[in-house]
Symmetry: C2
């Protein structure tokens, strides 16, 4: 689900037990080094902003960031808030499942509103 879009990039929510956003440049690139510098800077600023907002709002144990794109070679950035008791911690979300849990996290919509407010001030 897309929650944000501007002239350079858009943000999608990954369906998951944890807060997990994906940032895509509007223009398609395969690798990070294919991306023009201006777009790359904007991707990084938004990546950092999402991390900062996740830390403020969710107080996660750790934030995880990843750029893979092996299935579909289109540059995008995963930003994930990780919790000690989430199903995969301390493994990455792509690793071996560690336990069955139901996380009790603060409301995502409130987080989203705060993030969108911050994003509007980045422009």
């Amino acid at each position: 689900m897309k929650i944000y879009e501007d002239n350079n990039l858009y943000i999608e929510v990954e369906k998951s037990e944890i807060p997990w956003l994906k940032i895509f440049p509007i223009k398609k690139f395969k690798e990070l080094s294919d991306c023009d510098e201006l777009t790359r800077e904007k991707l990084f600023r938004v990546m950092l902003l999402i991390e900062t907002e996740m830390i403020k709002y969710y107080k996660p144990k750790k934030v995880n960031i990843a750029m893979f794109g092996n299935y579909l070679p289109i540059l995008h950035i995963h930003v994930m808030a990780r919790f000690e008791n989430d199903s995969y911690f301390p493994e990455p979300m792509w690793g071996k499942k560690q336990r069955d849990v139901k996380l009790d996290l603060p409301d995502f919509d409130k987080f989203k509103q705060g993030l969108l407010r911050e994003l509007s001030q980045l422009q």
Copy 2:
């Protein structure tokens, strides 16, 4: 094994079937957003340089980049050259193993020499 160090960061080789480097800031940070801007910029420049050198030298199917730090909450960046026939592709290196293979890759030492040459010109 450490292959490079300067005033801001150092680079280690991860033992793996694929070319896999890890970049650590000298100063320890937990999250990317804890890192001062100058160090972060240098980390990103080196991350991009490693990606570019890996693409030139190994012609990988895709470069993967990750910042996790769940086991040890110390900021570092993984940069991995991925190949269609490596043991985990298209899964991340932390994912489910797909096959048993022995990759036939160009000499790592030659790659390292080229990378160190480029790094010396970044300063």
